[in-house]
């Protein structure tokens, strides 16, 4: 067997409050695809950032082709022959597609000036070779999310690297685009490149990967050849216990319809979305990332203006024009982008919790800190928040605990409907179970929960009914009784039943 072209050993990386990577190792081989597998928050993306010079590891060595390298900057990583398609699209809206592909390594003419003509031509060539159907001359902001991902792929290809990392490259792509990507990956393999492929989709992994490495909670827990390992073995490694025990059993006692939405539409993001949620019900929203579920929820929450559609809450028509209106009406929203939209970092926990409830804790507009602390303590302790004090800055909390602060904030407003957008994204397994258990508690107390999730087990394990969305449209609403995961995946990805069968 050949030697690995890239070897990582003993890599450790900590963030305040989290050890994201703990002495992990990884090997990549020329002409082979290695899948990196692990739950959300296992440390996969962090490792990618270490390999591409964005983060500096606290400890550990990186060897490329047998030689030790240091990667202090993103530049040094490309110089060492490593390139990556990152999980978040890190591109430039205001620049053209061609430039997005070549920024930082643009072709240069005799005078040391950027050679736009060559750049455009080569960019177009790369895009065409991927059958992307994108004009290299337009500005990136004119593309949709899927096409932006293709541009990111093209950028990685334009760097003539020996090691190509793909962090969930297919998450936002349609089936057709995914097929094209597979072809590309085959070509790269033939070229002798080493590929690191990160994905949560097992069908994909089994289709294109040669090897695998599994991470759990920042540690390397297993590796081997895909052909020699069964899916259930890998899942066992990933989760560390049997999967089907995670979700709390609950006997649903559904009441009347609390919130009913009819024909919600938006000019560019979603169209004709109708659903209803009952007292004591968990309504799941499933779809591929980018299906527009978050946009719909933000419209229900008053953050996005609707072009048409109506909503009825407890028999009364509502039309929230702002989040404040929605909160007053009794609808609250736990956003997906926790850092940006959920918590106010650099403010203490208690102030985060009391913010929407200030009217209750204050006296004729004047703050009463004692009341705020009381309110914050009541709800954070119910959620078993782990912190040193209520005055701790939320930015120093771990992701799961930040999520708890956001949920506590909303529970304190005594809402009727709580919308949870990817509630367990980036949360460790322990907290995840706690959040799930807590959701069960919420509905048993008579709340209605809408849960947006891209994780199949979570959707299937928690929901009473499931709404499936694809490309901004509602595909179907299903009762969660004996639903097969494949059914949901097909609906979400738009694969016809008979074609797959």
């Amino acid at each position: 067997m050949t030697d690995p072209i890239l070897t990582l050993s003993g890599i450790t990386k900590s963030f305040p409050g989290v050890r994201a990577l703990n002495g992990v190792s990884l090997e990549l081989f020329a002409g082979q695809v290695t899948a990196l597998i692990g739950e959300n928050g296992a440390g996969k993306s962090t490792l990618v950032k270490v390999m591409t010079g964005i983060y500096q590891p606290d400890a550990g060595d990186i060897h490329v082709a047998g030689r030790q390298v240091h990667l202090p900057t993103a530049h040094s990583a490309s110089a060492a022959g490593i390139t990556a398609i990152h999980q978040e699209t890190v591109l430039f809206d205001e620049l053209t597609v061609a430039e997005n592909i070549y920024l930082g390594h643009a072709p240069i003419n005799r005078f040391g000036m950027i050679d736009w003509k060559t750049m455009r031509a080569e960019a177009q060539e790369t895009l065409d070779s991927m059958a992307a159907g994108i004009d290299a001359d337009i500005k990136l902001k004119e593309l949709g999310i899927a096409k932006k991902h293709l541009v990111a792929v093209a950028r990685a290809l334009s760097i003539d690297a020996q090691i190509v990392i793909m962090d969930e490259p297919t998450a936002a792509l349609s089936q057709k685009e995914i097929e094209d990507l597979y072809v590309l990956i085959e070509l790269l393999k033939e070229d002798g490149k080493a590929i690191l492929f990160i994905s949560h989709k097992f069908d994909e992994i089994y289709r294109i990967a040669d090897r695998y490495t599994v991470f759990r909670d920042g540690e390397m827990v297993g590796k081997g050849m895909i052909a020699e390992t069964s899916q259930s073995q890998i899942v066992q490694m990933m989760v560390g216990r049997a999967v089907d025990q995670i979700f709390p059993a609950r006997n649903a006692a559904l009441g009347d319809v609390v919130l009913e939405a009819k024909g919600l539409s938006h000019p560019t993001e979603f169209d004709d979305i109708s659903f209803a949620v009952r007292k004591g019900e968990i309504l799941g929203f499933y779809g591929l990332v980018g299906a527009g579920r978050s946009e719909v929820m933000q419209a229900v929450f008053g953050m996005t203006a609707l072009s048409s559609g109506s909503m009825v809450l407890d028999g009364q028509a509502i039309a929230p024009k702002s989040a404040a209106d929605a909160v007053d009406a009794g609808i609250v929203y736990v956003p997906e982008e926790r850092g940006k939209q959920g918590v106010i970092t650099s403010q203490p926990i208690f102030q985060n919790v009391s913010l929407p409830s200030l009217k209750k804790t204050s006296k004729s507009g004047f703050l009463r800190m004692a009341e705020e602390f009381k309110l914050a303590r009541t709800y954070t302790e119910r959620l078993d928040l782990r912190a040193s004090s209520l005055s701790q800055d939320v930015s120093t909390l771990s992701g799961g605990n930040q999520q708890k602060v956001v949920i506590a904030k909303w529970l304190a407003t005594l809402p009727k409907v709580i919308i949870l957008d990817e509630p367990t994204k980036g949360i460790d397994i322990g907290s995840k179970a706690a959040v799930h258990e807590f959701m069960g508690e919420l509905v048993s107390q008579g709340l209605s929960v809408i849960m947006v999730s891209s994780e199949l087990p979570e959707v299937l394990g928690m929901s009473d009914r499931i709404v499936v969305m694809r490309e901004g449209r509602l595909v179907d609403t299903l009762d969660n009784k004996g639903l097969k995961p494949e059914t949901l995946v097909r609906l979400a990805a738009g694969i016809a039943e008979e074609a797959a069968a």
């Binding site: 430039f92 560019t268 490309e471």
Partner: protein, 325 residues
Amino acid sequence: MKALTKHRELWLALAIVVVVIAVTLRFPRFSQPSNLLTIFNDTSILMMLALGQMVVILTRSIDLSMAANLALTGMIVAMVNAAFPGVPIPVLIAGCIVVGGALGAFNGILVWKLNIPAIVVTLGTLTIFRGLVFVISGGAWVNAAQMSPDFIQLQRGAFLGLPILSWFAIVVAALFYVLMTRTALGRSLYAIGVNPTASVYTGINVGRTKFLAFTIAGAVSGLAGYLWISRYVIASTEVASGYELTIIAACVIGGVSIAGGIGTVGGALLGALFLGVINNALPVINISPFWQMAISGSAILLAVVLNARGERNKGRVILKKAEGV
């Protein structure tokens, strides 16, 4: 609306033409080539400064100290010229660029290494630089009689029918055009304004690039220092006082987004030219000069409103029918 955003420069140019025509209707001499060239020449310094400011604004920063830098460099060069009339003018100009660049680099270092917001840094250096003008000159003015004839005359000479001052603007504009469109540095300036995080992923050193932007703005201010002093033949503490905001106004009118990442050389030039035309037109058509300030204020507001309309985020565009690609 879409066309407007695509061809922002075109529309601005059109606005300038409309103003010129309107003035010409009341006062035919206004649009004579000689007068138009005069306006261009009068606006040359502002154009150069606007370009320097644009580079900084592109990186999501702002330089409030440009006018003070200009005054300080101008005073230094005037005093050197008065004391040593023998020093050749090109040497003086090179000196101005170096001194101005060094002052700009000082801003840049504070922004880069200490991570102090640009507006705070330059608010501080604005007062420091201007105070230094007074300190080094002891408050005395350097007047025409103390300056050497070459010092005064250089920019007034003509080449191909254009005053040398205009040529300075043209050359600087050309250099900026090349910098912004043809060099890695220029593209990095845009990139870190559009998306600083993505820039890090792309291997751009954000802090260092900002530092260079401030240095460039400083160098331009230094050059403008010499040109200003030799144009108005007086160097005093109050030179170009308050001008920093005019420079920013020119950029804003020219479509440079204060949020960074958007702006072109052509836009900045036209923004400056627009202010120049207004300033020249008002006295000519006998509108009381007291109207001038309100008019340029309204122009700035109009420009931001129009630019913002164009920049308005289209959202993510999930629906296929709306994607439009």
